[in-house]
Every structure is written in structure tokens, then in C-alpha cells.
Symmetry: none
Subunit: 232 residues, 4 copies
DNA sequence: AATGAATGAGTCTTCATTCAT
DNA sequence: TATGAATGAAGACTCATTCAT
């Protein structure tokens, strides 16, 4: 009984994920969400104020799951900071591929934040989004994944796998930027092999190597054998 | 006289840019575009098949202008490859800020490409987009800016400002990824100073430094203390 | 309660009949239908997929009612086959006059069938018409009235009121053709009395007589002078 | 030179016929008519007041041509009245098949006449139709074909091929009704062979026979066995 | 005679959301 | 909690027609 309510809520969210994945946000009608969830249209509005609220709830879940990825990496034993970051480079695009909608919702939230932080563009945001409780919660938690990332850099500096002169926040956000852009560029690159000497499969190792070079810096001259060998 | 025809077309496009900027694509009605352009609704459809076609025309112009940025940098005298790339890091976010809609349309096109290249997701693209002549042209020209970027890397390798072991295509696309992500992350970072020790203004030099480190590689081993200390 | 659902549907259909009658199909806007039915525009689309679907629903009802006319005649006691057919000649034009839209929709469906049966012209039919469930049902039932008509001829042959050498199907369809044409020619003939010695009122008995002659055949040989003279 | 004007007019009309045939009246845009005719949109309006006027011009031509069919039959030597009528039964459906649009426009005009003759429905007619000069001319000439038909009946009565007691006007209009309905029913009958024992090819002789029986009357009493047996 | 850019009235249709039950 | 009939605002798009040239 007490979990039934939560159950329906989950049912709706799952339906939304499924439909947003296959048809996109705008093309998905609330009626379809309800039908897919096996409930009535009206009940959907009982659990979620409106379509935007539902999407924010989905975004919230996306961030939670995204954070789990970071946490898993951070908690994994036997990894130095650089290795953690390197694993992130693999994990995040994988997460994006497997959880398309979640990842898209995260990027969408980033765009939302840009508008939100600029008084001039803030009014472009749908009032219903602003009013969503889930949105408000996202305002609080959305940098949690990044916080873990920053901790990884700090860890790397401590364990010597990352250049000591690097500033953790700046460094991590730069890394994250790289990954976000990397994932975004993957699309256009695909299938264009004829014209451009770059493919998803040959880019990945190159990308990782550049990123590591950036982080390791001079260290590699000091003790190159111990660290690098294992990664490439 | 001869430019009158083109004039109306341009008028519409300008109106679209203006409205898409202030209200967004979906919130902008074709009637408003016409009104803003000072013409009738029907004429809008005379020059552009439909709303999507208009947007693709806008995207096409965005790419043209974006390419000009690259060309300007590439043609600028007295710059080595690394300096060109560095300038790009400044120019692109600036372009994004000044030409919000153009930049957004470019990113949107990148997403479109991802869907387009995947047979499963291709059908998610609006048929009207696919049918647009401007879209077809974009398919041909959309990697031109990147081509110039790749040439900059090659130039850097030639002139010794960029590590010789780097592969131009992979390197440039990685750079571009960084920039795209950088621009995207700028939003959430803004105004969050209280919690995170990173702001748009302190990130930029750090970001640039990291990027340069990545490209120069061994150079930094020469005089690491003098250079880095000042930047962080 | 249980009939409420049906009620709204019927309300819409009735409104459509009324408006199609007074303004015609194209000139009638869905909004007017809704307004006339006393409901909202949206609800109209809840019950009927689109304007064409609504029209096909109307056509379906027209055929049902048209069939009832045939059934009534067929079931009427004390009539031989020829008398049934004769009654049909009176009933159908009367039906056409009283149920203008229904009758027109039936003729329209006949035209639709001609296009539908020809692969070359089939594509001229509105896809929405083809997709209508009501259209699909019409494909199944549209010859039911004619079946009853054929049975009347058969009956007439059995009871001796119709020439035994006549083939029922061919004969009935010929009769039906006559009636359709008769109804159609009624328009141009009306009010043209000055130029042509034929009016709706003097045509009807003549038409009926000719039709009966055609069916009875030999009977007229018995006493040709006495019967015919009076009628013309 | 003097015929050029007429030439363009004809070009437009031909284009209209062609397009109305393939797409129907409503689906045909004036722009297409102009394009097909190889002239500009504006010129179309120079020769024809509007779309309705163009259609009325087409209808006028249809009647002219239709009348020619009647005249040809009437003038053909060596035929008695019944044979003329019989030929009409073959000729009219053939005309309908070969000149679909012309025939349809004639039927459309018949419907128009019905509305025109009824004060209550007259207002349903598009004012532009009413204002068309071609429409006005049609009001004068539209019964000319029928007049010839009536003359054929009279001729048949004179030459003994048609029962003397028949009233020419009533008889011919009845015949014409039959033919109109016959043509209209042809559509639904086509391809329905499985369910109904009637096909376009077996109906035609049966239809003709019935019609002749109707007209000849007493003749069939003379030698009924020889004639009827073979046809049914 | 001829052009074709320009107009704008006219309408179907969608769908998020509500609310009586 | 749960339903689903009912609402109505919102917007893209068409096309006959005009008119300056």
C-alpha cells in the first residue's frame, strides 16, 4: 500500500523515459505517457503537475543516476586520480549512449541553467519549469556529480598521478567540457569516414591520450614506465 | 532592383534570428516573423517552404558565418598553429555569445547529424527538415569549419608550436569538443561562485592553459615554474 | 447515463447533417459543427478523427437509413414484386428530397467507389477518407440496399408480375440507374416549363409507366390501347 | 496574331481539363493551371475572371461537345429513331469515359440547376459561379442536347421503331435518366464480381435490351422468342 | 498582353490540462 | 486515488486573387 503510490509514480516516469527516447519530448503526448504507463491521463496529473514537471522529475532522476556513475568510479578501489578520470571518459559517453534521454535531459538542464543565470534570458524559461519542485531540487543538487569529479582531480594530485600545479575545479570542469563536447561531436563524425580521417573508434584512444597528456604533464618525464604502460 | 528579391529573403531571415533569439524556435510564430520582417505571412512561405526550412536556412547562414571565424583566424598573419587554436578558444565562445541563435542552430545541427547517422533515430527527424534544400546543402558543407581547424593543427605541427606526434584530425576534433563543452558548461558555472571555486572569468585562462599544455606537450618541461605559476 | 456517450456522437452528426444541408460540405467549418452541436471543437475530434471521418460516418448512417427504405418496401405485405419496385420509384426520390444530405452522401460514395475501383484514380481519394473506419465499413455494406432490390425483382418474377426472362441483378441495377438519373434530372427540368413540355409532375407518372412497361413486357400486348392512352 | 488570344485561352482550358482530370477541381491550383499552360498566373486571370469562371467555361465546352455527340447520332443516315437512341446508350458512357472531366462538369451543372431552381438552395451556389458569363450562356443552351434527344424519339415514333403512344419529352428524359444512372452505377459494380452477378460487360447488353423493350413495346409481341432468348 | 511578387483571409487540427464523478 | 470526457487556446499553412511594372 504505501509503496503503491510510489509505484505509479515510477510507472509514469518509466513510460516517459521510454517515449521521450523514441519520439522526443515535444512529440510525446501526455496521453501516450498515461497509456504506456497503463493508467489514466488524469492520474498522470495527480503525480506530476504538468508535462514540464514530469520532465524535471525525469531530469532529477537522470542527475541521480549520473551521480551514481561518478560515485562508482570514485569508490572503486585501487585507482589513482588519473585512472578515475580516465574511466570517466569511458563511462560518461557510455552512459549517454545507454541512457540517451537521461543524458539529453542533463544537457537540457545545463542550457536551462545558462538562461536561468542570465536575467535577460531567464524569462525564456517556461514558468511551469520554474515552478516545478523537481526543478528547485535540481538547483540544489546539479553540481554534485561535478563535486565528485573535482575530488577525483584532488585525489590525483595527492597520489601524484596528476600534475600538482593544476587547480582541481578548473581542471575538472575542463575535463567535463571535453567529455560533453566529445559526446556531441560523435554524431557528425560517424559515417563520414570518407572525407575525414577520424572515426568514433579511432578518436576515442586519441582523445583519451590527449586528455591524459594534459593532466600528467611533466610527470610522464619523471616516471613514465610505471604509470603509462597500463593505460595504453 | 536586382537586390530587392534577395532583400525580402534577408529581411525574413533577420526577423527570424531576432525572434528565435528572444523567444526561441518553438515560441516564435511564423506570423510574428512576417510581421517583424514587415511583410505578409504568405510571402514568408513564398521564400521559405515552412518553419523548418526557414530554420535550416538560418543554420546554413550560421555555418557560413562560423566558417568565416575560422577563416579569419587561419588567414591572420604572424600566427603559429598554436596561437591560431588559442585564438579559436577565445573566438568561438565569443561568437556563441554574440550570435546565440546561430551558435544554437549549429549545435542543433550536430544533434540532427547524430540522429541522421543512425538509421534507428533518423525517423525522429522532422520530414520537413529532411526535405529542406538548405538541410541538403548543410550536409555538404557542415564540416568545412572543422577542415580549417584541422589545417591549423597541421600548421602548428609544421611550425613546431604543436607536438609533432599528434594526429591533426583527432587533435582538432578533441579541441573542438573541449570548446563546445566549455561553452555549454559556462552557463551552470555562472553565478555559482559560493559553492564552487570556479567562475567564468577564472576558468577561461585555466582552460586555455590546459589546452595549450595538451598541445605543446614537452615544451612545458623546459621552464615549468615560470610559466604556470602565474596563471593559476 | 449509458446513452450519454452516444448522445454526443449523435449530436455532432445531427449538427453536421444540418450544416452540410444548408451550407454544403466544404463551406461547413468544424467549428460550426461543434457550435451547432453545443459542444467544444475539441470534442468533435474526440468522436470523429477529422472532417472526412465525420462525413463517412454520415454516409454510413445514410446507407443504413436508405437500406431501411428498401427493407420497409420489401417487408410490406400484400405487394407483388412489380408493386414493390414501383413503390421504390416513389420512395427513393422522396427520400432524396427529405434527406438531401444523406442522399447526396450516397451518390458521393458511388463516385468514390468508381475512383476506388480504378487503380489510376484511387490516389485521388483523400487519404483521410480511406483511413476512416466508417469508410471501411461502408465498403462492406454499401451494396446491401441493392441486394434487397434484386430480391424484389426475383420476387416479381416468382409472382408473375415481372417478365420471367429478366435477369434479376441486371434488371434491378438498371432500375436503380433509372431512379438515380431520374432524381438527378429533376433539377434541370424544374421551372423550365416554358421551353420543354415536361415538368416534375407530369414526368413522374410517365416515368413510372415506362418502367412498368419495361418490366411487365407482355402484359401491354393484351390491351395496349386502353391502358396507355390515359397516362400520356 | 488575331488568333493568339484565342490560343492562350484554349491553352488554359486544356491545362484545366488535364489537371482537373488528374487531381480534381479543388485540388487543382490556379498556379498549376498557369504553369501547365505555360503562361503566368496573372494571365490566367486576364482570360478567366476566376476559378469558377474557368470551370464554367470548361462546362460550356463540355456541353458543346456533348451536343456534338447527339448531333452526330441524329445526322447519321440510315438509322431509325430506336437505333439512334440505342447508339446514344453506347455513345454517352463512352463519352463519359473518354472525357471524364467534361462529363463530370455536365453532371455538376445538373446539380447546380437543381439548386438554382430552388429559391431556398440557390444561395448555396457560389456568387462567382452565378456571375460567370459562361454560366449565363449555359442557362440558355444546356437543354440543347436533350432537344436533339427528343427529336430522336419523335423520329422513332414517325418511323415506327418506337411505340406511338409514348410522349417524346417524357420518354427521352427517362432514357437520359437511365443513361446517367447507368454511368454512375458503373463504378460500384466494377470489381465486385464475387458478390454480385453483374459486371460492366454483362450489364451493358442487358441494359440496352431493357431500354429497347421499353421503347418498342408492341414489337416484341410480334416475335418475342427470337429476340429475347439470345440476350439474357 | 504578360509577369510574378505580394497579400491575407480562412481552417483544420493538436494537445496540455481540468473536473465532475 | 482514479477515470476519461470535455475544453479551448494556439498556429502552421494554403491559395485565390491582385497589381505594380
Amino acid at each position: 500500500m504505501p509503496s503503491e503510490k510510489t509505484n505509479k509514480e515510477k510507472l509514469i516516469l518509466d513510460a516517459a523515459v521510454s517515449l521521450f527516447t523514441s519520439k522526443g519530448f515535444v512529440a510525446t503526448r501526455m496521453e501516450d505517457v498515461a497509456k504506456t504507463a497503463g493508467i489514466s491521463k488524469g492520474l498522470t496529473y495527480f503525480y506530476y503537475k504538468n508535462k514540464e514537471d514530469l520532465f524535471m522529475a525525469l531530469t532529477k532522476k537522470a542527475f541521480d543516476q549520473f551521480k551514481d556513475e561518478f560515485r562508482d568510479v570514485y569508490r572503486s578501489k585501487g585507482k589513482n586520480g588519473l585512472e578515475m578520470i580516465s574511466e570517466l571518459v569511458v563511462r560518461i559517453p557510455a552512459f549517454a549512449k545507454e541512457n540517451q534521454v537521461y543524458y539529453d535531459s542533463i544537457l537540457n538542464f545545463l542550457d536551462l541553467m545558462k538562461k536561468y543565470n542570465n536575467p535577460e534570458t531567464r524569462e525564456q524559461i517556461d514558468p511551469k519549469t520554474l515552478a516545478s519542485d523537481h526543478f528547485q531540487k535540481l538547483l540544489e543538487i546539479h553540481h554534485e556529480p561535478a563535486k565528485l569529479g573535482v575530488m577525483m582531480i584532488s585525489q590525483g594530485i595527492k597520489d601524484g598521478s596528476i600534475r600538482p600545479e593544476l587547480q582541481p575545479e578548473i581542471t575538472f570542469y575542463t575535463i567535463w567540457s571535453m567529455i560533453i563536447g566529445y559526446e556531441k561531436m560523435m554524431g557528425p563524425i560517424d559515417y563520414e569516414g570518407k572525407e575525414i580521417k577520424i572515426t568514433p573508434s579511432n578518436w576515442q584512444p586519441g582523445f583519451l591520450k590527449l586528455l591524459q597528456d594534459m593532466l600528467k604533464g611533466t610527470i610522464q618525464a619523471v616516471k613514465p614506465s610505471t604509470v603509462q604502460g597500463s593505460l595504453f
